[in-house]
């Protein structure tokens, strides 16, 4: 497919076309976000509304071997959120199903 027909020539175009849509964001520190994307810049600073954060907390169980343990998941919601770009690992557009 001709890349110009989709309007995507470089990585940031993918994010631009996701404006006002719900995106998935993976962050450092075992955090993930979904939210509606309203703004971004070249540092991948983001502004999301209706954001839900998921934190994965690995609890090493006593007496267990390394690499084992239970994974706790904590969720919280935030109405309007600025995300600093240096923590962003990836931004993924909404799945079109």
């Amino acid at each position: 497919m001709d890349p110009s027909s989709t309007g995507i020539q470089e990585p940031f175009d993918l994010i631009r076309l996701s404006l006002s849509e719900r995106v998935f964001v993976k962050l450092r520190g075992d955090r993930e976000l979904t939210g509606i994307l309203h703004a971004y810049d070249g540092h991948m600073n983001l502004i999301l509304s209706d954001a839900e954060e998921t934190i994965m907390i690995v609890d090493p169980v006593d007496g267990n071997f390394e690499g084992q343990g239970t994974v706790k998941v904590a969720k919280r919601k935030m109405e309007m959120l600025f995300v600093r770009g240096d923590g962003v690992i990836l931004v993924s557009p909404p799945s079109r199903t």
Partner: protein, 95 residues
């Protein structure tokens, strides 16, 4: 401009990237938020005993090392009995 100008000659609390807490009088700063503190002391927090204050004297702290600078309200600060405070140290910044 979010500048440190208003803090000069005031007593401030510096929280460093590694979680250390230092109080002192802000003697000066520059564009990179490098900071000079006079009469500075480190406040060491622990759950086992009260806060320990370690005198450091005149200190130059590199801007890169600083997480936060807060202006101390002396009236409130002096009313607190540091030896009665039990708290975990502030966690280090993790990128």
């Amino acid at each position: 401009m979010a500048s440190l100008q208003g803090y000069v000659d005031r007593r401030v609390l510096l929280v460093l990237q590694d979680g250390r807490a230092i109080v002192g009088v802000l003697a000066g700063f520059d564009q990179k938020s490098n900071v000079v503190l006079s009469e500075s002391k480190e406040r060491v927090y622990s759950m086992e005993e009260g806060v320990e204050e370690i005198p450091l004297g005149l200190y130059l702290v590199k801007g890169d090392m600083i997480a936060l600078i807060g202006e101390i309200d002396d009236a409130i600060d002096q009313a607190v009995d540091l030896s009665s405070i039990r708290a975990e140290p502030i966690p280090a910044i993790r990128y």
